[in-house]
Amino acid sequence: MSEPALATRALNKSFGSLAVARDVELTLPRGVRYALIGPNGAGKTTLINLMTGMLRPDAGRIFLGPDDITRLEPEARVKRGLVRTFQINTLFPNLTALEAVTLAVCERRSLTGTWWRRLPAHRDAVDEAYGILASLALGVHCHRLTRELAYGQQRLLEIALALATRPKVLLLDEPAAGVPRDESAGLFAAIAGLSQDITVLFIEHDMNVVFRFASRIIVMVRGRILVEGSPDEIAADAQVREVYLGGARHG
Amino acid sequence: MFGSLLGVLFDGLAYGMLLFLLSVGLSVTLGMMNFVNLAHCSFAMIGGYVTVTLMNELSWPFFATLPCAFAAAAVASVALERTLYRRLYRAGELDQCLLTIGIVFVSVAVAAYIYGTIQQPVQLPSYLRGSVTLMGMTFGVYRLFLIAAGLALTLVLVAALEWTRFGAQVRAAVDNQRMARGLGINVDGVFAVTFALGSGLAGLGGALAIDVVGLDPAFAFTYLVYVLIVVSVGGLGSIGGSFAAATLLGISDMAGKYYFPELGAFLIYLVMVALLMWRPAGLFGRR
């Protein structure tokens, strides 16, 4: 049996008396599409921060494939294939879309140590970056400054940056947050089009999106994993209903 | 030996109280709005020059000039805040540094133009001059007064912060600005008042400093470095932190000058760099 793509064991984190992660145990097999849902403040983004190394856990371990990555720096985790996107656009405002993705590609190819050849001379890197942008329908916008892109395009750029690092495990933090309904089609096409080799965990509030894309769902409440299961199981789970809908109403 | 140690501590404490007055306003406003106001010591300088003018030109008694020093600095700060600082609340640190450095340049030039570059003499009232002998050691009266005033003001500030409604709002705004706004606290208003009060305190500090360290147009620059040290070592937004850092700095400076005069301020800067490397958010700062 091959090892899981990503796993956490007994992950704990508190800020003073506020426990944001309590004994979180996760096991994500390869290639599966997981949705992480839960009410606001449940600790979903915190969990991603812990897994990517932006936060240090108080206790517990994180495994990427066979490797224990608990002590690794965030950039080292990215180099091994654990990549995330941000809920709030965390982009490079004054870089063009092409420059931004090329930067990610160059980092992956360890080209950013070189300073004697000019950027356009690295044709392969630029071409690869352009290819990624084109696959997300951003090719025609590649020379525009990031801050001049429309919000939906910026969300796509978030994903482009993540893809440029050739992730094995991709953590998407509310990828469609703030994107109006009519613009989100491209976004979801992109997510659906992600290679089956990539394991995806995405945080989402829109249940339609969740049921459409996820093959398994994890529910988190107050720092703890409440339940995990297939979409049908979760939809029928009484505890989940109570947490989300206050018990009496039907979803 | 012991006597000189006590003397150094005493002088250091007095100097520290002065630094505290000069720094506390900057610490709180930095902690609240993250606005790097390098012109803070220009306000101190304004207070100093107001006292000098009132005493030397209009023969006012020393104590009467102190509230005016406070008020003048506070008013000047409000004027600057309304016109210039407001525009840069969202800007980066560099822009704020540069704007306020520009203001320092202008204030230094204006002071030099009006008052010239010489040190300003000030005649303390007779009851504050001289020294008093306690337990076989002499203590300067003015320094005693500074320590007493400093401690009293600290208590007033801490009490106001803990027990008044305004104080609670200040604490909330420093702790989490967004949350405070969400709770309906008028953060901008609180900041404006705090900024005025902090600048006023600096003005008061500037007035009180004349006899101890002198006043000339370079004051705005010279003491800026010390104030920045106090603020960054003490931790942003912390009155207790400023108090501790100011006292530490005052005593270290006196001790350095007394015991290691060849080293100059080297020790101070070394201690600061080392402290900041150990605790980048300051001794009492958050994050």
Partner: protein, 330 residues
Amino acid sequence: MTAAAEQIAAPHRHLEAQIRWRAIETVFWLATLLPLVASPSYLVLASQIAITALFALSLDLILGYAGIVSLGHAAFFGLGAYTAGLAAKHGWGEPLTGLVLAAGVAGLVGYASSFIIARFRHLALIMITLGMGLLLLEAANSASWLTGGADGLQGVRMWPLLGTFRFDLWGYTAYAYSLIVLFLTFLLVRRLIHSPFGLALRGIRENATRMPAIGASSRAHIRKVYTIAAVIAGIAGGLLTQTTETVSLGVLDFQRSADVLVILVLGGAGRLYGGLIGAIIFMVARDQFSGINPQYWYFWIGTLLIAVVVFLPNGILGGLNRLMSRWGNR
């Protein structure tokens, strides 16, 4: 060329077009030759400007491109200046090797301190750079047996450049020397900025949080660029000593760190030529004003600084850029 191939080729062309050497740059550098053919009374000022421009260029690398605010950059300028001075004073007056020595010492200290610098941000970083600059100044002051203290180094005598060009009293050799060093360093920096490393620096400036998330080791990048900037600042300091045959504590003081910051912001940080333009304007203005009254100088530079920050956040070059793009859109 098919439409598909043309689309793919386009990204390169666009990037290449952006970093092409422009005609106006040739005009600029040709104009820098003017003091050599005009009246020699401008040569001394021109040398000062070239040296200051080099210093500003070094600050632009860390401030304009990597986003590191340093209030103590004069430390490296001073280290280079004193190294060159000490070498000459103790018998080795050869300019070029002296300059290499200055660069080396500054670079070494820059490398060592870069480990500290790379770990901090925001106010702590500003204060640490300020503190380190002040530390060095105090140390230089105290070590008067080495540095000459407040009086400065005496007995700095330079040998002829390349064995043939004496440092003449007019300043021809000094200016030509400074200008060539500036130009060569500029070409190097230009190459660096347009490379993937330069792109990474801009990434750090634009969003330091995102960099680790794309696998970038920001700290390593910062250490590298800080060392390079220290080397260049050291070269500028060494040039000053060699062309003026003096060095005193003024090369290390806070005023110099503050001035170069003002210069860079005036011209526009992150724009390669910003430091050069800023240096020209600042030095010429100061030369004019210092005759009248030094206090007026502070007043006007302060007002100018306030105006630039409020109305021209990207400096003069940025303002020109905006003006030209508005013109272009008509």
